[in-house]
Amino acid sequence: MTPDKNLTCPQCNKSGYKSPAALKGHIRSKHPETPTPRELPATLSVKLPDKAEPGYHSINCPTCRQPATVYLKEDGTIASSSEIPKAPPTSGLSHHKHQIKRAAYPEVISARYKMRWNDAENRWKRTVCLSGTHGKTGVEIPWHEMGVDEFWMLNDCHGVIYIQPYIEKVSRWFQIHHRWRITRRTSRASADRVVQDHWEWLKQSKVPRIVMQRKFKEIPNSEEFPFREVCEMFIKGLLGRGAGYTQYYFTNTFSYMLAQIAYEKAKGIKDWERIELYGCELEQLESEFVRQRPGIEFWFGMLINMGVEIYVPESCFMLYPQVIGKLPTGQQVMVNAPGYTAYGYKSPSMEEARAEGQPLGTDPIEENVIGAWDDYEFIDHTYNLNEAIARVVHAHTLELFVPENDALNEFLEEFK
């Protein structure tokens, strides 16, 4: 490959410019009245062997004469950087090497086991795990834990990195959107960076049950969500509004999933006892999620009243009110405000109010009683976690090990 130095100025016919940039610079400085040509002839011609295979080839850079590499396309021309095919992910090993094997801190998993266990009947509670895709708690989906009867997933999350490897564990998939939406050839990028066609995936899916608006002939495992039956069973004439009734109250797919659980329990199809919700945050920063939250809370209430336990991870935004905070960068973030779940709101705290010079009223002592029920069977989750961490820290105080190790060494000496 050699440089073509014959670029010539169209105004003064001066030649020898070896790059369009050099020629443009000349035109701008010497002939400012002349508009700079939009496209100039290429300056470089590549001379590669006649039968060069497509792919990478070593050349000497025509400008700096240093060794360089170019990618030759099928048609024999040099590919621009955007045309060079992306290298496949090495061997896939890097993806599997760090596959998530645990979903939460061991103390939390241990507590979950206790909560999932039915002491009275010496068995696991009938538990269903519902999962969305939000990374905050989606990574906590308990794929490897015991005591979960079924995993239910939704929408096009089959490509999400912490869901894709475990799809065979999913027993039910909810895709309640309208057909015109789900037949669009778009989906979230999958873990192996191949964009999956959601509609195609639904058609070929091995998930045993795919719950949809109706049974679609293209999707063999699809089944119809019992919409009217559910509404008649749980809402019917109970939600009055204005001159009539609200006939249904489903604000997102999770609402349908929760309603399905209530339906199966009420009909005696399966006596669900516990629901665990992961990957569902509905951050109140986006209007879509503001619209979606009420339906979930509504069905939560319905299910609790039916004796079904609801569980969310510690950091989950559901079942908590939130306030909007701000990062130093100005970005808005959600912050859980647990104090607002009971009377004696924590915000502003007594300290904050005092600092602001607000009047404290006549009885500032009784600020908030949450967690003060020492005789309460169900220990406050924050207290429980703090206590667990305190135990861990205690167990790792090095001073404790000195006499213990001495005792152990003395014991082992006896076997020599």
Binding site: I109, H144, M146, A407
Partner: protein
């Protein structure tokens, strides 16, 4: 893992008592402090002991439960088939006591330590898994049954889905390659990993946080 001084004291008492009564603890009881400390870490919940022989390992587990006020029963699985045990257990010249034991000797030792109500004996092989323990969930387990062939791996597979915290195993040493292979397999499953190893005792724990790599999680990130 902290090796509790209490478990060392218990071990001395147990081995002494067993030797007096003509029995023995496996390897002179050298693994018992590790086992006892593991049972303590597992906390409340049942414990299952595969290969109970004279009951030393079951007794240390039971004593830990009692001393630290932990809930749970000690389930012992041992067919007490003297013919098979004599044929498969190699007794070295330094071995104190007989190779095989009887259920009567087991119960005598258990009763001596006041654990009759905390211990249950299932006089069967550990594989196939005893029907009466099919749905029982354990906080911890100890594998010290048959050390050869498929049995160690079958024991792990049988316990894998029934134990919530720790699986301990004895004879994790080169003399017993099948035991080593079984536990090495266990460590590489998705839900179990190596927790502790000392001499011939090894303990696996169910799922802990990744410490390195993309998914590493520290306490501060909980």
């Amino acid at each position: 893992m902290r090796i509790l001084p209490e478990t060392i004291k218990m071990t001395r008492e147990i081995t002494e008592a067993l030797v007096k009564s003509g029995g023995r603890a496996a390897d002179g009881g050298i693994s018992l402090p590790f086992l006892g400390s593991m049972v303590f870490l597992a906390g409340n919940g049942h414990h299952v002991d595969i290969g109970s022989l004279y009951g030393a390992s079951a007794i240390v587990a039971g004593l830990v439960k009692v001393q630290f006020n932990l809930e749970g029963t000690i389930y012992c699985i041992d067919p007490y088939n003297a013919e098979i045990r004599n044929a498969t257990v190699r007794g070295g010249p330094e071995l104190q006591g007989k190779v095989s034991a009887t259920p009567e000797e087991f119960w005598k030792n258990v009763e001596q330590f006041g654990l009759k109500d905390r211990v249950k004996l299932i006089q069967k092989n550990s594989h196939p898994w005893p029907e009466e323990l099919k749905d029982t969930v354990f906080a911890s387990a100890y594998i010290d049954g048959e050390h050869t062939g498929d049995t160690p791996l079958n024991d792990f597979y049988n316990l894998r889905g029934r134990v919530t915290q720790y699986i301990g195993c004895d004879n994790y040493e080169e003399s017993y390659p099948d035991v080593v292979a079984a536990m090495a397999t266990g460590m590489q499953t998705d839900d179990w990993f190596l927790f502790y190893k000392n001499l011939s005792f090894v303990s696996l724990r169910r799922i802990l946080p990744a410490r390195t790599g993309d998914n590493a999680v520290s306490i501060l990130q909980m």
